[in-house]
Symmetry: D2
Subunit: 333 residues, 4 copies
């Protein structure tokens, strides 16, 4: 299903080359000042345009279509929609015969019996992260005290991002990257033991972002190589401050009040300009093919605002569960 | 909340040192032959006893208390309970003053206002993975064609597990490890785009296992350092077989029919025998302390059957969603 | 929250006097032929225009905005939106001072801290049943073998509907009514014991329809006055056909293969033309007031297509759970 | 599925003639004093023993098996179990051939492929309301300010309950009844528009109680015969007090602060002592049969504590959603 969240629930819809896409946010507290301009910074950050990103640039103007009145959220489902304008569907006419490696073309065709909208990946498109980013803007406004920052800390195996992008352009091959997300002022006590752990909720939504292939909290995979005496974070005061933060701000699935830290692995964009081999269903042969269309060489460049968004969505949801829907209005009084 | 799953839903309960723990499995199809003996292999694998594991050994006899009649599941909620017998609660009396580093003691105390059962971690205890493992046994029986195998592939940074354990014993310090899980015969088409991707569902439940700090699918974090031309898995036939499997059997969140492959990072057991520093709430000082009780030096040793179990739970859930509750009986006819 | 359903999930949004309203349908199987014309019959039936209904008539043209491609559903979230056009918001300017009796004005104002869109009831408006009706059209197409028929069997206490409407017009006072819904060809075995009984699911969504104040299955309240020997439905063959149908087609919460029968009570439209007494928050007095705007004298007249729609939604959801998402495509092959 | 609730979630399990039954309560706030004695009043009220109830009397001793420590709830899943002791399974051996009219025997057999536990109705048994009643005791303790009272106001069509029971005994035929539930001090603002209306949530869980065939709020079915000018409840002050309460304390699906009032119709017990006709699968004939076992002549007598319980569960859930999980501890400080 395409919805996520308990107290704050989001439902995304739309396709890359359909008429529109968007998100419905259910459970958003009333009384939040919200206008289209509030979305522009994060939407701009997510947008293509920089070196290494696709030349397809949409205006991405958010349309606030429900749940808003006189400039404030009403408490009813908040609808934020985007119209698709810069569409070149002809580019995708060959997908039906040649499943692009790394893409969802094959599984979508099989799962949906050939009825899926295959243009630009259809509903599987990374363009849907626009809806996630918009929902994140709202989530950030629900608890503005949370400071969430994600950044690309490595691309193509190199901490020098710029250099890596230049290399990718020079060699005309796509590259991956690692994005780190940090959240300050996360209150102590969010999450639940076991299935609703903070890690579970974050990992769940993070893997909804296309191209993510791994997530690690705190020391993550490096923790597997540390000793307990080194890895354990010693408490230094009654508020739970720890001398180190190998745990990434989470103990037993519950936020411990220290900084929340996690990293995700982004695979190289499947749409590399390089010639590839793949099966052609029409000829019944494995053949060379070159991908058309407009694509990002390093999709990881565009992941940070999306990662911040989904983090904000999870934290806002957990806080609304803990503090209650009614708390928001009371705090404003 | 402590339940997980849509068509196959599990709810776990209990504490490390309470009278019992267990799992309710809702949505289990009727007509599955099930007896206590079916659980023994996986429960035994999960159990302590090997070098590097805790000397606390429970008999762990599963009690089938509901949803079973004449040796078959009935379709009603299946209750599998375990009584705690080998309890030494006195060991934990000091936890209230000294929050053990790396444990949930601190967050549990704060989140639950001091009412949590702190003995042995209470409801946060790794002992609850017994309930997960039992649920996994049932999930494996629902779709026995799935072949799920997890194994410890690295401990303490070394692929030589035995050597690493010996070192941990010699130095009396806990170590972590990496566990890999592979599932064969996963049908093409499980999972949904975005929030219910196979990665999302697996990561969600995997992070319910205590001590897991990272998960990666296919090439995972290594993918971030590969080129698109290398990372992409070329399709070689109409069934979607791929020449390589960097994707770990998942495209666009949907299983593609190739082997499902993922790895998890297990942190070193927080209960290291080494003397540690931590805050004492009674004295108001950071003090040295040594942990008591009976513990595993390498908890990663016991993760494989649990990882198989949660994987089976997710895959059985997704298959029941796809094939329908009624399919099970029909296939038996 | 504003979503409903498990395998087939609907989320409604929008306001009476906002820019649009609509529904997202998640879990709709792919391959269903669908065009705007398919909606017209049920939308027309729901629409005002007949004697006793409001003179506000919208065109109610469904806009298929996502989840559809080349005339067939794709399996991605299906978005059906409606633009509001015939809006006279000025009519509602006084609502802020005078909470209309029987309406949600008072509770909405308090619950949402004064931020709710009060125009025409905002998100609480009966106009949202347009979205339910549209979702019902899709649900009916998922399992076209189901034959669901609802009709007004009593209005204003009289089985002679026409006479009752004439009387309401003559006396200029709103009236209620009773609507009966019957579904044939409901397969045996839908629903679950206890919380997901067929009655539970139907009653849940039926009370989402504004103005409904009661529901009864089979003999319903009359059953409370019958003897067991009379009320029990004797089975007459191995397929579970019963000689009578006091149970309304449901035993133990599960459909038994006989006709599904239930009735709902619709209260008289709160917006009666009669002068009423109510509290004025500005003057602090109970005062006479007459309601403005355009309203239905007997809203029950418009309930049948909505009741059919929600019934279809529940039955399609239960069937998809039982038969599985994949069944739909297989049956078409 | 057999779970219900969002912030406070309950999962019931067990069978009439299995080894045990019970309930897991997830989301119960920590710090509630709870002991077995707290359950006795409501369990006693639910129990048989009075005229017109079954001679099968269980001790019904609640076993608090998890989520409790030192006499207080811990915040972990609360497990309340009951062992079945007074079991006479031999009574039910004939059910397999002769589906009892009005019972779930037929649908259970078909739905679960013959694997269901048919003894005493198995998981469908009214005995499971013991688990609901126990959960209700906890829910009442979460918000003790709520005063919820249900009573049988009519039996066998007569407001004179005692007389009706005597008549049922004299004629040896089961009778139904009507139970009314009232809740005072329900805070204004619970519930949501549409799918999570107070009516929707209450009706959903009420129809989980076996033998309930109808529910109506406020004036209910009588409202369908009233005029708007009579039915509308005039507000008399700024707090939303209304002069009448035809709405039963709910406007637009939201509690309005007035008394919550609803009634349910209970069918006559299916297990009437009268000889009945039904299909015999062994002989292939419709035959006379007389039901064995121990049964209630008027099951409605035992409904009030169960109805209070489910009402308390819904209201506690809605209040926890509104006020937040953390509110409970704060209010105790």
């Amino acid at each position: 299903m395409n919805h996520f969240g308990r107290a704050l629930s989001i439902q995304i819809f739309g396709e890359s080359h359909g008429s529109m896409l968007g998100v419905l946010i259910d459970g958003c507290p009333p009384g939040i000042a919200l206008q289209e301009a509030d979305f522009l910074t994060d939407l701009k950050r997510r947008q293509a345009g920089a070196k290494g990103t696709t030349p397809r640039v949409e205006q991405d103007l958010p349309l606030l279509k429900s749940g808003i009145f006189n400039g404030f959220t009403t408490g009813a489902p908040l609808g934020i929609f985007f119209e698709n304008q810069n569409i070149k569907s002809a580019d995708y006419s060959k997908i039906r015969d040649v499943y692009r490696p790394g893409h969802a073309d094959f599984v979508a065709d099989k799962k949906f019996g050939g009825y899926n909208d295959y243009r630009g990946g259809g509903h599987f498109s990374g363009r849907l992260t626009l809806a996630l980013t918009a929902a994140g803007v709202v989530a950030k406004k629900i608890y503005p005290q949370l400071k969430i920052t994600a950044q690309l800390i490595e691309a193509g195996g190199s901490p020098n991002i710029e250099e890596a992008i230049e290399m990718a352009i020079a060699t005309q091959d796509s590259i991956g990257g690692i994005v780190e997300c940090r959240a300050c002022h996360v209150p102590l006590g969010l999450g639940e033991p076991f299935f609703d752990s903070v890690e579970s909720m974050l990992a769940h939504i993070v893997f909804a972002i296309p191209a993510i292939k791994g997530i690690e909290f705190g020391s993550g995979f490096a923790a597997a190589r540390l000793r307990g005496s080194t890895h354990n974070d010693a408490f230094t005061n009654a508020e739970g401050h720890t001398a180190t933060n190998h745990a990434g701000g989470i103990n037993g699935g519950i936020s411990n009040g220290n900084e929340l830290v996690f990293r995700v692995a982004v695979k190289p964009t499947s749409s590399t300009p390089q010639t590839q081999q793949t099966y052609n269903t029409k000829t019944g042969q494995v053949e060379s093919f070159a991908i058309g269309g407009r694509h990002d060489l390093c999709i990881a460049l565009r992941v940070p605002p999306v990662l911040e968004a989904v983090t904000a969505i999870v934290l806002a949801d957990l806080m609304l569960q803990t503090k209650g829907k009614a708390s928001f209005l009371k705090e404003r009084e």
